[in-house]
């Protein structure tokens, strides 16, 4: 067997418990939604619960990677002794997390769709709403939830790699402090950089107009391919740096 497949299977076993736990939590949450909706006598409340759960999936990969990386830390010497390069070790985790995210997202999307069209019947509430609107909006939102979730997962992996390096050389307290500082500082730095003229010149290109109807609840009227390209490059950079740190600087 290819070593990476073996690692992928191991990551599946490592992350399976957490993914099942997240699924149980989702159903418990939806159960609360059903109860609240029934108590209020308002079916739309359940739809709001579903929509919130759907949006919260942007944090799914962060949660998954957090659990997986913390569990890995207990057996770090086994992980680092594998013959696979660090980027493949991380990809095995990310791919498993992505699979779990896709499964959970599919379930909540199906429930949201069913509750939106059959229980609440948005088509009756909004006669202008059409199936193409629902599908195109849904696909747009789902793709972005997946991309943002992956992005946050990669960012968290990067912070974890820094934490491992710093905590070994300067101590766990320093590792935590630097991790937390970077957690707040890096997004601030990014927002500063993204508001510069240079950023606009480099990455604001390839405008695509979104032709969603007004009732489709999508705030964006257009997107830029350059912006996606920028975030793709940034994700690659974070993943590359995390891999490099694990490969060369992390010790047990």
């Amino acid at each position: 067997m290819n070593p990476w497949w073996g690692q992928l299977a191991k990551e599946y076993r490592l992350g399976r418990g957490g993914a099942i736990g997240a699924l149980i939590a989702l159903f418990l949450y939806l159960g609360i939604g059903v109860y609240t909706s029934w108590r209020m006598g308002n079916p739309e409340t359940f739809l709001a619960f579903c929509a919130f759960a759907l949006m919260m999936h942007v944090l799914y990969m962060a949660g998954y990677m957090c659990v997986s990386l913390i569990r890995e830390q207990r057996t770090l010497h086994l992980w680092l002794q594998t013959p696979l390069p660090a980027y493949k070790l991380l990809l095995a985790k990310l791919l498993n997390g992505w699979g779990a995210l896709a499964f959970s997202l599919f379930i909540i999307s199906a429930i949201t769709l069913i509750s939106g069209t059959m229980i609440v019947n948005l088509f009756e509430l909004n006669p202008e709403l059409t199936w193409p609107d629902v599908i195109s909006t849904g696909v747009f939102i789902e793709i972005h939830i997946i991309l943002i979730a992956l992005y946050i997962g990669i960012g968290l992996t990067f912070l974890w790699a820094i934490y491992l390096v710093v905590s070994k050389s300067l101590g766990k307290v320093s590792g935590n402090v630097i991790g937390i500082v970077l957690f707040f500082f890096l997004p601030w730095l990014m927002s500063k950089w993204e508001s510069t003229g240079l950023f606009d010149a480099l990455f604001v290109w390839g405008r695509i107009d979104l032709n969603f109807s007004d009732v489709a609840y999508v705030a964006f009227k257009h997107v830029y391919i350059g912006y996606y390209f920028y975030h793709f490059l940034l994700a690659l950079l974070l993943l590359f740096t995390a891999s490099w740190l694990i490969e060369r600087k992390v010790e047990v």
């Binding site: 070593p3 191991k10 076993r13 418990g17 086994l78 002794q81 594998t82 660090a86």
Partner: protein, 242 residues
């Protein structure tokens, strides 16, 4: 006893610091091919650090460590099988799944040898790792480490926490399952008396510095002392090189 001549593992003026604390200090050592080598010394003397440096799990602060001329980085795991002193495993696996996992990872992993060792160690393939006793977890670690057909096998305290009967069976197992012609075993342990009969060479470390390297046969025949007696003697003398 076998004669090893090929230079294989080399520490060249290695210093390893954990924060400001030096675990090894200007440590130079060359270990030959095809021997069973005991790495001995007091607690905190730097034995585990030596093994971790060879396995590429840590890097020297100064100096270099090479295995067959190749720098000991993470990539060295294709030549080095390492058993950690830590009692840490993938507890979600069964014994059999652990063996299958190692088989999937390492192209040099000998599955039939692993099965043979499992039988010898009386380990049940279907048992969950988390349900194994400490002794059996230790045996499983040894089984997957020994089943790899690599030039270098490192074992950090493999007998720690095991009862005397198990220790004896493991020491015998080491003899049975090693390939003397192709493999070097470096082992750290405090149970020196138990592994003494299988050792070819002994390396004594204190406070991160190399005190002495000796052929065990020479100790037995020419000096007529056991390793423990020799250790005490060297500690008293302050240990002056090889």
């Amino acid at each position: 006893m076998r004669s090893g001549v090929e230079q294989m593992i080399e520490f060249n003026q290695v210093t390893k610091k954990y924060r400001s604390q030096a675990a090894l200090n200007d440590f130079s050592l060359t270990l030959p091919h095809g021997k069973i080598i005991g790495l001995v010394g007091e607690n905190g003397s730097g034995k585990s650090t030596v093994l971790k440096l060879i396995s590429g799990l840590i890097s020297p602060t100064k100096g270099s460590v090479t295995v067959d001329g190749e720098p000991a980085t993470r990539k060295i795991s294709s030549r080095v099988s390492y058993l950690s002193e830590l009692d840490a495993y993938y507890t979600f696996y069964t014994v059999g799944e652990t063996v299958d996992y190692y088989k999937s990872l390492y192209s040099d992993f000998n599955q039939s040898k692993a099965e043979e060792i499992l039988d010898y160690m009386k380990l049940d393939r279907s048992k969950k790792v988390k349900d194994l006793s400490k002794g059996n977890r230790g045996r499983l670690k040894i089984a997957v480490t020994l089943a790899r057909e690599v030039p270098v096998i490192l074992m950090d305290e493999p007998l720690s926490g095991l009862d005397p009967m198990v220790r004896d069976s493991i020491v015998k197992g080491l003899l049975s399952f090693m390939d003397y012609e192709k493999q070097t075993l470096i082992i750290t342990t405090h149970e020196i008396k138990e592994i003494e009969p299988i050792l070819d060479m002994v390396v004594l470390i204190k406070d991160g510095t190399l005190l002495k390297v000796e052929e065990v046969e020479e100790l037995r025949i020419e000096q007529n002392v056991s390793i423990v007696e020799w250790m005490k003697q060297v500690y008293q003398d302050g240990g002056m090189g090889k």
